[in-house]
C-alpha cells in the first residue's frame, strides 16, 4: 500500500518533469538544438517570478502572467540574435552557445541574489490535500501541476496539429530547406518555436521552485538532467511519450525515496541508463536516435 502512495506521488511529480521536458523536446524536434541551458533557464524563470513577487506583492500564481510571456519574448530574441547565427555554423556552435548561457545564468544569479534559496510561496494550496483512503493522500498543489502539464501538452499538440504556424514547425522539423522554398521565413518559425519552449520551461521552473519551497542558483544543473532523462525515456518526437517518460522517472524517484533519501537521484539516473541500454528509442519513440 505504501508503494501505491509512492506511485501516485510519482505520477504527480512526473507531470512536472513532463512540463519541464516539453520545451527541450520542441527545441530539438523543430530546430535540432539541444539546449544545454534548459535547466538554468528554468531557474531564471523561477527568479523572475521571485522578482515579480518582491516588487508587486502579488501571489506566485499571478506572476505566471508576467514571467511566462516575458520568457517567451526572451526565447524569441535568443533564437533570432544568438542561436540563428550559430545554427548556420554547424552542430557544435549551438551547443556551445547554450553551454555558455548555462554558465552565465547560475553564476550571475549567485552574484545578484547570493546562494540562498529564495521563497516562492504556494499559498493556501500548499497544505491542502485530498485523502483517498487511510494510506493514500494526494496533495492539491501536485495535482494542480499535473493538470497544468496535461493541459499544456494537449494545447501544444493541438497547436502543432491544427494551426498554420504549427504546420510550419512540423515542416521545419522534417525539412527546413523545403519550408524555405515554400516562401516561409524559417527564422521566424524557429524564433516562435523557441519562444514557446522558453514559455513552457518558465512555467515548469516556477512550479518546480514552488514545489521545492523556493529557487536557488544551481537548481538548473539538476533540472536539466531530469528534463533530458524524461525526453529520452519517453522517446524523442512524441509529446505524450514525454508525459509517460516524466511519470516513469517520477515513480522511480519516489519509490527509491522510500528506501533512503539519498537514492532518488541515483535510481532515476539508473532507470534512464537502463532505458538507454535496452530500449534506446524510448518507450514510445520513433527510431530517430541513430
Amino acid at each position: 500500500m505504501i508503494y501505491l502512495n509512492s506511485i501516485s506521488q510519482g505520477i504527480l511529480l512526473g507531470g512536472l518533469f513532463a512540463l519541464s521536458a516539453v520545451g527541450l523536446s520542441l527545441a530539438f524536434g523543430v530546430l535540432r538544438i539541444v539546449n544545454l541551458a534548459h535547466g538554468d533557464l528554468m531557474t531564471l524563470g523561477g527568479y523572475l517570478a521571485f522578482i515579480t513577487i518582491e516588487h508587486t506583492g502579488m501571489s506566485t500564481w499571478y506572476s505566471f502572467l508576467i514571467v511566462v510571456p516575458a520568457m517567451g519574448v526572451i526565447g524569441y530574441l535568443v533564437q533570432r540574435l544568438l542561436l540563428q547565427r550559430a545554427l548556420r555554423m554547424g552542430e557544435l556552435a549551438p551547443l556551445m552557445v547554450t553551454f555558455g548561457i548555462s554558465i552565465i545564468i547560475p553564476n550571475s544569479l549567485v552574484q545578484l541574489f547570493t546562494n540562498n534559496t529564495e521563497q516562492l510561496p504556494v499559498g493556501s494550496l500548499a497544505t491542502s490535500s485530498i485523502q483517498v483512503n487511510s494510506q493514500i493522500s494526494i496533495g492539491t498543489f501536485p495535482l494542480v501541476t499535473l493538470g497544468i502539464s496535461i493541459v499544456m501538452i494537449s494545447a501544444l499538440q493541438q497547436y502543432l496539429a491544427r494551426t498554420k504556424m504549427g504546420r510550419y514547425m512540423r515542416a521545419a522539423a522534417d525539412d527546413s530547406e523545403v519550408l524555405r522554398l515554400m516562401g516561409v521565413d524559417h527564422r521566424r518559425v524557429y524564433g516562435i518555436a523557441m519562444g514557446i519552449a522558453f514559455s513552457t520551461l518558465a512555467m515548469a521552473g516556477i512550479l518546480f521552485g514552488m514545489r521545492q519551497g523556493g529557487v536557488s542558483p544551481y537548481d538548473g544543473q539538476l533540472t536539466v538532467l531530469f528534463a533530458f532523462e524524461t525526453v529520452i525515456i519517453g522517446g524523442l518526437g512524441s509529446l505524450w511519450g514525454t508525459l509517460l517518460g516524466g511519470m516513469v522517472l517520477g515513480i522511480a524517484q519516489t519509490i527509491a525515496g522510500q528506501f533512503s533519501p539519498e537514492l532518488p537521484l541515483l535510481v532515476g539516473h539508473l532507470v534512464f541508463l537502463g532505458v538507454l541500454a535496452f530500449r534506446p528509442n524510448g518507450l514510445l519513440g520513433k527510431p530517430v536516435l541513430r
Binding site: L36, A86, P94, L95, I103, I104, F228, L273, L276
Partner: protein, 343 residues
C-alpha cells in the same frame, strides 16, 4: 604551362616546431631543479589544463563528440588513486594504474553513451558523470560524500612536489604526443572524416563506432590521468561534487574554443590563456565565470577558429601539422600554398 605539384606533410616550420617542443620539454623537465618550487608548483595546474584541453579537443575537434561529462573520468582517476594507494602502491603508481583501469571502464560506458548522438550525447555523458559520482559517494571507504585524503604519500614536501611536477608534465607530454601521433596516422584521417560526415565515412569502409570508441577511451584515460594529478597535488579530494563537477567541462570547452578547436596547438594556447586568467581573476568572484561564458559565446559565433586558427590563417604557421599541404610551383616560379584542410 607546366607546373610542379608537391604534397607536403612537414614543412620546415614543423621541423622547427618539433625541435622547439623537444627543447621546451627538456627545459621544463629540469625546471624544478633550477627554479624556485613556488613557481614550478603552479605549473602543475598548467600541465593538467593542457592535458584536459587536448583530450577534449581530441573528442570534439577531431571526432565530433561533444562531451560535457568528461568530469566522470577526472573523478574516477582521482578516486582511483585512493583505491590503489590503499592497496600499497605509491600515489604516483596509483595514478598511472587508475588511468589504465579507467580506460577499461570507459569501454562499457561508451556503449551506453554512443546510443546518443550530437547534443543528446552531450547531456548523456553528463548523466553518466552524475551517476558515477552518486555511486562513488555511497562507499564509506572513499569518504562518502565528504572527500578524503591520500593515506600513503611522499612526506618530504620538496621531493613530493618534484615528483608531482614530473608526473603532471609527463602526462601532458604523453597526451600531446598521443594526439599528434594518432592524428598523423591513417587513424587520424579516418577520425576527421567521421567528424565531417559520419554516413560518408561509413560508406568508405571506416569502422565508425570502433574508431570513435578508441578515441573515447583515450580521452577517458587522459582525463583520468589529469584527475589523478589533481588529486595527488592536493593530497586528496576535498569534495566529490567538485572533482565530478560540470565546471571542468566548462573550462575544457573554454580552453579549446578560445585556443582553436581542431588543432594541436590551439588547446595548448587556450590552456595557457586560461591558466593566467584563472590566476589573476579567480579571486574576483563568480563574475569571472560569467565573463568566461560570454567570451565562449562570442568566440563561438565570431571567431570559430580561435586564437591559433586566426594566427594560422594569417601566417600559415602550423607547428605541428596533422594535415597535408599542396604546394604548386609553376614556371613563373611563384608558389602558392594551399591548405588542404580548412576546417
Amino acid at each position: 604551362m607546366s607546373s610542379n605539384i608537391q604534397i607536403l606533410r612537414s614543412p620546415k616550420k614543423a621541423a622547427y616546431g618539433s625541435a622547439g617542443a623537444l627543447l621546451l620539454f627538456v627545459a621544463l623537465a629540469i625546471a624544478p631543479k633550477i627554479l624556485d618550487q613556488s613557481i614550478t608548483n603552479e605549473w602543475v595546474k598548467l600541465f593538467y589544463l593542457v592535458t584536459l584541453a587536448s583530450m577534449w579537443n581530441l573528442l570534439a575537434g577531431y571526432a565530433g563528440m561533444i562531451s560535457v561529462g568528461q568530469q566522470a573520468f577526472i573523478g574516477l582517476g582521482a578516486y582511483g588513486v585512493f583505491v590503489f594507494n590503499d592497496h600499497g602502491f605509491s600515489a604516483y603508481e596509483s595514478g598511472i594504474i587508475a588511468s589504465i583501469v579507467v580506460g577499461v571502464v570507459a569501454v562499457p560506458i561508451s556503449f551506453l553513451a554512443f546510443r546518443l548522438r550530437g547534443g543528446y550525447f552531450a547531456i548523456g555523458t553528463w548523466v553518466i558523470a552524475e551517476t558515477l559520482r552518486l555511486i562513488i559517494i555511497r562507499f564509506p571507504s572513499l569518504g562518502s560524500g565528504k572527500g578524503r585524503n591520500i593515506q600513503n604519500y611522499t612526506r618530504d614536501p620538496i621531493l613530493r612536489n618534484t615528483y608531482t611536477y614530473w608526473m603532471a608534465l609527463g602526462v601532458a607530454i604523453f597526451a600531446l604526443s598521443a594526439c599528434f601521433i594518432l592524428l598523423r596516422s591513417r587513424f587520424g584521417l579516418a577520425l576527421q572524416s567521421i567528424r565531417d560526415n559520419e554516413v560518408a565515412a561509413n560508406s568508405l569502409g571506416i569502422k565508425v563506432d570502433f574508431t570513435k570508441r578508441v578515441v573515447y577511451v583515450i580521452g577517458a584515460m587522459g582525463c583520468a590521468a589529469a584527475g589523478s594529478v589533481i588529486c595527488i597535488q592536493s593530497i586528496g579530494v576535498a569534495s566529490p561534487n567538485a572533482i565530478f563537477g560540470v565546471s571542468y567541462s566548462a573550462f575544457m570547452i573554454f580552453m579549446v574554443l578560445i585556443g582553436g578547436i581542431g588543432t594541436i596547438e590551439g588547446p595548448v594556447m587556450g590552456a595557457l590563456l586560461y591558466f593566467f586568467v584563472d590566476k589573476y581573476f579567480s579571486q574576483s568572484g563568480l563574475w569571472y565565470l560569467v565573463i568566461l561564458g560570454v567570451i565562449a559565446i562570442i568566440a563561438t559565433l565570431f571567431f570559430p577558429k580561435g586564437i591559433w586558427g586566426e594566427i594560422n590563417a594569417r601566417w600559415n604557421l602550423s607547428l605541428f601539422p596533422v594535415s597535408y599541404q599542396v604546394k604548386i610551383e609553376n614556371n613563373q616560379n611563384d608558389s602558392i600554398h594551399l591548405s588542404k584542410k580548412e576546417k
